[in-house]
């Protein structure tokens, strides 16, 4: 580098990274020109040779930028010229002061970050679970199908002593408005006589109303209401007699008529299913 500079003659001041003036015994030292300001003035008309250096004419001036075809080029003289930017805009308030140790606040800062991360994780897991369940449960029964699984019955339409049949889940549903006499009679039945012993109060919520599935427990025929020897139902297929509580009394059926899940919305309405 220095040898090329020596050979370049007229371009010597521009070739070096630095130049200095030393006072001789007779000549006083003339201070170099100090260029102030951030802008580096470059003459675009000057022809560019192998090596150029924007460094001014004395060691005191400006930055050093070197451009070279067959040598090192750079905009920075040394690694010590690197300025770490000021990140104050992004710092948390506890670490804004450069004269305070950051150790004191480190636990608090970490706790805050981890707490936030933890909370965000919980929320995301919950959100993910919700999305997944929504998609998976879309494969289950749709609303219209589910609607058909329940039936709402207006009880004031059924006169006393009468039985009404509804279609529910593809099966007949018997709703019987019992008289006082029937209620008393069924309650007094001795459980020992019954093939499938169940007390009447275990089969009804409100003794006035008996709600059972109208499917004979023998082979599945539909019994006829208000028929048979026991004041209840009679299955014509094989002769099973049920009483006013739907219990089997005579005939081949092994079990009582099934009691579905139902609840009274109010005195006049019952929801079965």
């Amino acid at each position: 580098m220095m040898s090329v500079a020596a050979r370049s003659g007229a371009f010597f001041p521009y070739m070096q990274a630095t130049a200095f003036a030393v006072p001789g015994p007779l000549k006083a030292l003339v201070p170099g020109v100090v260029i102030k300001g951030d802008q580096i003035l470059l003459n675009p008309k000057k022809t560019f040779l192998c090596r150029e250096s924007l460094s001014g004419q004395s060691a005191k001036t400006g930055p050093a930028v070197t451009v070279s075809i067959n040598g090192n080029g750079g905009v920075r003289f040394a690694h010590t010229d690197i300025r770490v930017p000021d990140f104050s805009d992004y710092r948390r308030p506890e670490v804004l002061d450069p004269n305070k140790s950051s150790q004191d606040s480190s636990e608090a800062r970490r706790a805050f970050s981890y707490l936030l991360t933890g909370a965000a994780t919980v929320v995301s897991i919950y959100a993910a679970k919700t999305v997944v369940t929504q998609f998976v449960s879309s494969m289950s029964a749709s609303a219209d199908v589910l609607a058909m699984s329940k039936i709402e019955i207006k009880l004031s339409d059924i006169p006393e002593g009468k039985n009404m049949t509804f279609k529910w889940r593809g099966k007949p549903l018997f709703v019987r408005h019992r008289t006082e006499k029937e209620i008393a009679a069924e309650a007094a039945v001795n459980l020992m006589e019954l093939r499938d012993p169940q007390h009447d109060k275990d089969r009804v919520i409100n003794p006035t109303w008996v709600i059972v599935l109208g499917v004979c427990t023998h082979l599945g025929c539909v019994p006829i209401a208000n028929a048979g020897d026991f004041g209840g139902y009679y299955c014509p297929c094989h002769g099973s007699h049920y009483d006013a509580s739907g219990r089997i009394r005579k005939g081949p059926a092994p079990l009582n008529l099934e009691v579905p899940y139902y609840e009274f919305a109010d005195d006049d309405t019952v929801m079965v299913g």
Binding site: T18, V22, T80, I82, V84, V95, D97, P98, K100
Partner: protein, 477 residues
Amino acid sequence: NNRSVFTNQNQKGFNVLLAKYSLKQRGQASVSYAQSLLGAPETRLTALDNGLRIASEETGQATCTVGLWISVGSRYEREKNNGAGFFLEHMAFKGTKKHPQSALEQQVESMGAHLSAYTSREHTAYYIKALSKDLPKAVELLSEVVQSCSLNEADIEQQRGVVLRELEEVESNLQEVCLDLLHATAYQGTPLGHSVLGPSSSARNLTRHDLVDYINSHYKAPRMVLAAAGGVNHEELVGLATDHLSGLSFEYEGDAVPVLSPCRFTGSEIRMRDDALPLAHIAIAVEGASAASPDIIPLMVANAIIGSYDLTYGGGKHLSSRLARLSVEENLCHSFQAFHSAYSDTGLLGIHFVTDRNNIDDMILVNTFLYYRMNLCTTVTESDVARGKNALKAALVGQLNGTTPVCDDIGRHILNYGRRIPLAEWDARIDAVTPKIVRDICSKYIYDKCPAVAAVGPIEQLSDYNRVRSAMYWLRF
């Protein structure tokens, strides 16, 4: 600094020649380690009226080292005059008021002495290595260099070029560049982030006025130690100091005593990527213990467990450090070393390694995995700690192999601790370290802390900072 296995101090001086002296034990066939610890000569400490401290260790040799250790460094500089200490060190031997340059050189050479200096972030030292009988002359020259340096304008102008050339040269020492950048990012916005060399604009723009200002603000007797080791007599030394150095000022202009404020550590990273370089230099460090903290000993033991490694180490895969074994077996790196730079109220505890561009990720994984969690914070064993303790003791003793290292030790200890800590005390403190202490202290400084990362070279493979940060903890613990 730092009594760590790898001394990492920015030693910027010229003519640093370490002559190898051996401590001669007269008339004894062999001495046990314990005996030699107790038999070491005591370091005597006196203070002058102006606050200057004088410390010496007399070993009766024919040579000696005497020097002035000053508690000033790049940490005391501001943005505007960063690099003043370094520049001043260059100017120091260019002549004094009584001895112009050639006369000064002639005086030193005719004694056959070596005159050297170094500047670091918190300390500056000027010292002479000479024959013991030349002690008076040496102290006189030292006092002149420090008190009445001539600082000619012409010399200053000439030295600008020298300093700039030195800056250019240091660019090729990538280890220095990497560690400088590590300090710059770890202590960003604080004086400890300043490099000792200063930016190139300092070399171009510092004036005589700045240098004189620097001397007047910082070269004060209470912050100086005259240390000597070798064939020196303490009383003689005190007498010489009274003659030559009692004129050192101890008052500050406007009572403006410079107080060191704490320096904030920032977990951050700086990357100087250059794919044209053959090897990548990477340093990762967390905030460590200060020089006077009691935690320093377990941290030094921890560093000794990690150790250092270089491609040229003959041990290969039989090296005791686990990280070194892995480096050999899996060809992870060219070299690494664990370091701990301790300053007066903070420190950098870390690892510096050199590797090629395809092994960076593996090295970091192994390094952070191994160094930070597995070995040190959680599962370090009794045998590891015993090995580390022995290695540390051997290193501490082995470093003091001559009057110059001993003198340096004395100077720095007095500045850091206020007294010289004898080897016997180091030994006792090291012996008190147990695996549990190592685990606890390392967890305190390393586990789940934000590191500072500095990397130079072909570092494309270096993972994102967040990944390095999350390698500092395990979800298992």
